[in-house]
């Protein structure tokens, strides 16, 4: 008997199960959409989960105002394709209203301010489940997260006291005011994501493919030269054009780019399979301390 699913099909099936479970157990779910490959995968899986019906919940983008311009364009196109509603939570607006204060200096980033904007958007929309594209292989604190991750009324995560999660039974019960973060692609690795996107022929933003861009180096990481980053004089002097691509897409101030010639998704797969650095190795936001991710997650980060 050869009733055997290959590993990508099994991962797909698991994710669809989790996404459907969210639609069934919660009243107001929302899908957090950053524009990166993981959220593109999430949107694709959500379309599959409800086909031929539309995705029965909106997408939420927390806009730092410091995006690669390509991201917003791509976002709007994809949202159009899914037919879902888009909600945008703006960090700029949170700054303007005095809800958060912009960081200053060379390492200033709006990454941390996103948490406030996110929690506010969740509260305003009265969302009780936020689906995210976090994967356990990304980072050591993420490696500890459940599929259904309970958040208290302050949106905080308590890593030492997570609910046991057995088999494929997901307990989404909560008190009023609490919510869940749900991570349907927990078990996918970076390589799985790429292999699957290739197999499914999913359209991707051009940022993931090799392109020429002005960059400069900081702490061993290449950053895109842009108006949002204050450069030191020696960095200013070292700006040069290189052929690079993004391995993750986030806020421009903290997303490193990599030297690469990968022009097709097959090239990317080869590159990722041979990579000796994790994709988050280029994320300045993770490097602030040994437990930077855990600390942010406790507060309610993605």
């Amino acid at each position: 008997m050869s009733y055997n699913l290959n590993h990508l099909k099994e991962l797909e099936s698991e994710s669809i199960y989790v996404i459907r479970e969210v639609a069934a157990q919660f009243e107001r779910p929302v899908l957090m959409f950053s524009g990166g490959k993981d959220s593109i995968l999430m949107a694709h899986l959500a379309m599959k989960a409800f086909y031929p019906a539309k995705i029965p919940f909106p997408l939420l983008h927390i806009d730092t105002g410091h995006n690669f311009p390509e991201t917003l364009e791509f976002r709007d196109k994809l949202v159009g394709k899914t037919g879902a509603r888009l909600i945008v939570g703006s960090v700029q607006e949170a700054i303007d209203r005095g809800l958060v204060v912009e960081e200053k200096g060379y390492n200033a980033s709006r990454n941390y301010l996103q948490t406030t904007a996110l929690l506010e958007a969740l509260e305003q929309g009265k969302f009780d489940a936020a689906l995210g594209g976090g994967r356990r292989d990304e980072e050591k604190a993420r490696a500890k997260e459940r599929f259904f991750s309970h958040r208290d009324e302050f949106g905080q995560w308590d890593p030492k006291n997570q609910r046991p999660e057995l088999w494929n039974i997901f307990n989404g019960k909560k008190h009023f005011g609490e919510h869940f973060r749900v991570f349907p692609i927990s078990n996918w690795t970076e390589l799985d994501v790429w292999m699957y996107l290739a197999q499914e022929k999913v359209e991707l933003p051009s940022l993931y493919f090799a392109h020429k861009r002005k960059v400069f180096e900081r702490d061993g990481i290449l950053l895109a030269d842009c108006e949002y980053i204050a450069k030191r004089p020696e960095e200013e002097a070292s700006v040069k054009e290189m052929t690079v691509r993004c391995r993750t897409i986030g806020d421009m101030t903290c997303t490193g780019v990599w030297r690469s010639e990968a022009a097709t998704i097959e090239d990317i797969i080869q590159e990722v399979a041979a990579a000796r650095q994790t994709e988050r190795g280029g994320r300045a936001d993770d490097k602030r301390s040994e437990t930077a991710m855990e600390d942010r997650k406790k507060q309610g980060y993605f």
Partner: protein, 419 residues
Amino acid sequence: MLDTKHMELLRFTTAGSVDDGKSTLIGRLLYDSKSIFEDQYEAVRQSSERRGEEGVNLALLTDGLKAEREQGITIDVAYRYFSTPRRKFIIADTPGHIQYTRNMVTGASTANVALILIDARKGVLEQTRRHAFIASLLQIPHLVVCINKMDLVDYSQERYEEIKQEFEEFSYKLDVRDVHFIPISALKGDNVVDRSGNMPWYGGTTLLYYLENVHIGSDHNFIDCRFPVQYVVRPNTDDFHDYRGYGGRVAGGVFKRGDKVMLLPSGFTTTIAKIDTYDGELEEAYAPMSVTLLLEDDLDLSRGDMIVRENNHPEAGQDLDVMVCWFNERPLQLRGKYTIMHTTQEARCIVKEIRYKLDINSLHRNMVDQNIGMNDIARVAIRTTKPLFYDSYRKNRITGSLIFVDEGTNETVGAGMII
């Protein structure tokens, strides 16, 4: 180079007492199979140095929480991934500490293989027995007993055989089908990925070889057709005006288009008109596929109901006997009421009787002790508010499992395996 079409997924978990070397083993496995990235290794090396440890502490690759690193123990399951050309592995590295048994059960509940570690100096401990028993209770199909820290007992064959015998004296009483023994040193790497030159007396395979080759094709049930309805798909668009599909994940058996099926609880019979997916129609669907079934007739069917074959039914009833692993500080309450989550179904239940509590060391059934506290295992009789459609856990891990939820706190307080 990457043959993704035929790559299988294998899930395994670690088990065993505190400090037996579970996290170190996983670190070693990742490191020697070249699955560690340079920046991860560098971060762990720096951390080990700051801690004043000699060498690089590979356990830090999975012990990712601040509290874990401070105490040098694992608190919650860490999931790690690696692949070889044949298989993708999902590892659940679980805590050995008794206080966190529930996290061990979380990691073990979906595993195909459990690695049970034993410190060669200490031999079989109470936690070893508890975890081996939980692994058998969870019906993890394959157990590998890794007798670890062989470097600290001079790679002694005698010691290895002694522990093997000690474990077997206990495990013959367990319901396990496939047990393997491997002498290893997680710290030094003997028999993890590479064969050890220190134990020429050992003729078996390395751990990685075992994991790549163990047969897992028959770990699912392909005989008894079970389809718990998870979500009703109703597009309500012009193109799909009358479309009504039943989304769900096959829990057992093989469903084919044209099959005669019965719906539970109504008992109506009908035919599968179509097995639908985003990628087009399928001829058949089997576990663990997520699909959408369309039926010939318009009948009442919603989340929590089940589609089965006409002549092969699950049990249906309100009185169930379950083995329960208790997770909460607040003991299980006799006559207490809990919410039960079972497949896509939900019900309330009352605990009618505590039949016995299990003594982990002797596997003796204690009929007198009615106090079922955190980490205890007991057999209980429950009555549910409505009928559940279930199989014994031995027959089907999906339709045979349920969880207990506290109605006040909403916490998951127990895991139940239906007898």
